[in-house]
């Protein structure tokens, strides 16, 4: 499969932690919710898709995500990358503009809206690295 992750399960578990970190962070969570940019991430090497949206008014979570395309909302932004690039991206090691030019990430939809999320999500880089340092050192970029 060529992924740097030991299994699909490891990848999904870590991405779940990334979204949880963003959702539960007192700064990032409310700002991401307010930004209201549902995103669809496709990890082509693993054949996985995750759809992320802001929590609805009646939901306590700032972010809600499902590992399927069978969701009842439409993403505003589509991003496709490999699991390795996703791992680098969430560590702040993949510059989005350069990654697009180097065909490591492809985007479509309301890309401008996605751009507005960059400064909001920056704190997750350090948090994700901390997660990796606790048992997933092979993934540190």
């Amino acid at each position: 499969m060529g992924s740097i992750f030991t299994s699909d399960t490891e990848f999904r578990s870590l991405m779940d932690q990334v979204f949880t970190l963003m959702s539960e962070d007192p700064d990032m969570g409310p700002r991401l919710r307010a930004a209201n940019v549902p995103q669809r991430f496709a990890f082509e090497d693993l054949g996985l898709v995750v759809n992320v949206r802001p929590g609805y008014e009646w939901e306590s979570e700032n972010l809600v995500w499902e590992w399927t395309d069978d969701v009842d909302w439409e993403p505003r932004v589509w991003m496709t990358m490999t699991s390795e690039i996703a791992n680098r991206y969430f560590q702040g090691k993949e510059n989005i503009a350069m990654a697009i030019a180097r065909r490591r990430i492809s985007t479509s939809g309301d890309v401008k809206a996605a751009l507005a999320l960059i400064p909001i999500t920056k704190p997750v880089f350090a948090l994700y690295r901390r997660v990796l340092q606790a048992g997933h050192e092979h993934l540190l970029a």
């Binding site: 510059n95 989005i96 503009a97 350069m98 990654a99 030019a101 985007t107 401008k112 996605a114 751009l115």
Partner: protein, 397 residues
């Protein structure tokens, strides 16, 4: 916070540099707010001093009364939080104390941007500042570099101080004025806020400076390695860099159609987006209106950024970007020379959504990009034509 000791009218007048009778008259005529319970406070004394200063500058009492009623004189209190410059040393004494030649002290002052009056008011703090300068030079930092650094410090810190005062004025003073808060109350409120904020400025700046210093030291190490690898030494003070100019196509039209506020917001979003997405070794050197000048060490990375950035910018006004790679003169924290001018001209030839580059950029760039030759173009101000290329993602095969 302990209450400041009460000050008599005579003492207040003395501190303001006027006669007690004058101060009493100003209070009676409403030029200076009447102190509560007749107790003069440092804030109310400052108010009187501001009025005294404006009187000396020729403002009439009527003008001052109006300004006072509108709360426009209240800002003057804050200067009391800053140490007053005493003339403790002459230039010659300062030179003797620090070991710096008087002419060099004059040059340092002028380079930093202090006015000529500052040389006649050299205080203990100024002397300490000059000792630091002397220590820097004694440590072996070349004078030519030291003076450039002084100019950068002066310009950057003047901009910071100016922004601090303007932002305080716009977001604290003006709202208080709009709310009709009485002059003295407004002054005391602002003084309280400024008293809490001022001590935070130096540690904040020190931290930010250290963080940036760490970043640029790392970049310098990388730059050295890569320059050494290229084996082409440059003259002293010259750097080979990638230069990008980017602006918003149709900005003038946008301003006309949407108004200044919307146009300025568009520029702010554009500059922020540039800053958020730049490669690690590149940074915004300056912005001029809607134009941004970016410099980086790696032409391939900067071109990748430019092409990727255009793909992220999908709505009007679209950016126009030009990238060039060449030898520049590094002076006072900025980049100068023919190649910088050329880069600006290249950007001016691009249309919204385009990235136009020169041959040196093409030669350094990766195979994931394609470069369509536009042709040899005579750019404004250049005798020789320049080969220009349109950069884009390589077609999928």
């Amino acid at each position: 916070m302990t209450e400041p000791p009460a000050i008599s009218l005579a003492e207040a007048a003395r501190r303001a540099g006027i006669k007690p009778a004058t101060l009493r008259r100003w209070v009676d005529s409403g030029v200076v707010p009447r102190p509560q319970d007749g107790r003069w406070t440092p804030a109310s004394v400052s108010y009187a001093r501001v009025v005294a200063r404006l009187r000396k500058r020729g403002h009439t009492l009527d003008q001052l009364r109006d300004a006072s009623a509108q709360g426009r004189l209240a800002f003057g209190y804050i200067e009391d939080l800053l140490p007053t410059a005493h003339s403790d040393y002459t230039l010659e004494q300062a030179a003797k104390e620090t070991g710096l030649e008087p002419a060099l002290i004059e040059r340092i002052y002028s380079t930093i941007g202090f006015n000529s009056q500052a040389l006649r008011q050299i205080s203990d703090d100024d002397l300490q500042f000059l000792r630091y300068c002397a220590a820097g030079l004694a440590a072996g930092f070349p004078l030519v570099a030291f003076l450039q650094m002084s100019r950068v410090y002066g310009q950057a810190l003047a901009q910071i101080a100016d922004a601090e005062v303007r932002l305080f004025h716009l977001y604290v003073h003006e709202p208080l004025m709009r709310d009709g808060v009485p002059g003295l109350e407004m002054a005391e409120e602002m003084e309280g806020l400024a008293r809490e904020l001022l001590p935070l400025a130096s540690p904040l700046m020190d931290h930010v400076h250290r963080r940036f210093l760490q970043h640029f030291v790392e970049q310098d190490v990388i730059g050295h390695l890569e320059t050494d690898a290229m084996g082409e030494p440059l003259d002293l003070g010259r750097l080979r860099v990638a230069i990008a100019f980017a602006d918003l196509a149709g900005y003038t039209r946008l301003t006309e159609e949407e108004g200044e506020e919307e146009a300025v917001s568009a520029v702010e979003r554009f500059v922020e987006n540039v800053e958020y997405t730049l490669p690690e070794d590149a940074r915004v050197i300056k912005t001029i209106g809607d134009e941004v000048m970016v410099v980086g060490g790696d032409p391939a990375a900067l071109t990748d950024w430019a092409v990727g950035f255009q793909m992220l910018m999908t709505e009007r006004p679209l950016p126009r970007i030009g990238v060039h790679y060449g030898e520049t003169l590094y002076r006072d924290g900025d980049y100068y020379g023919r190649e910088v001018n050329l880069a600006a001209r290249v950007a001016a030839r691009s249309a919204g959504g385009e990235v136009i580059v020169t041959r040196p950029v093409v030669e350094q760039s990766g195979s994931h990009l394609e470069f369509d030759l536009i042709g040899e173009v005579r750019l404004k101000g250049f005798k020789e034509p320049t080969e220009l290329f349109l950069a884009r993602l390589a077609d999928d095969d």
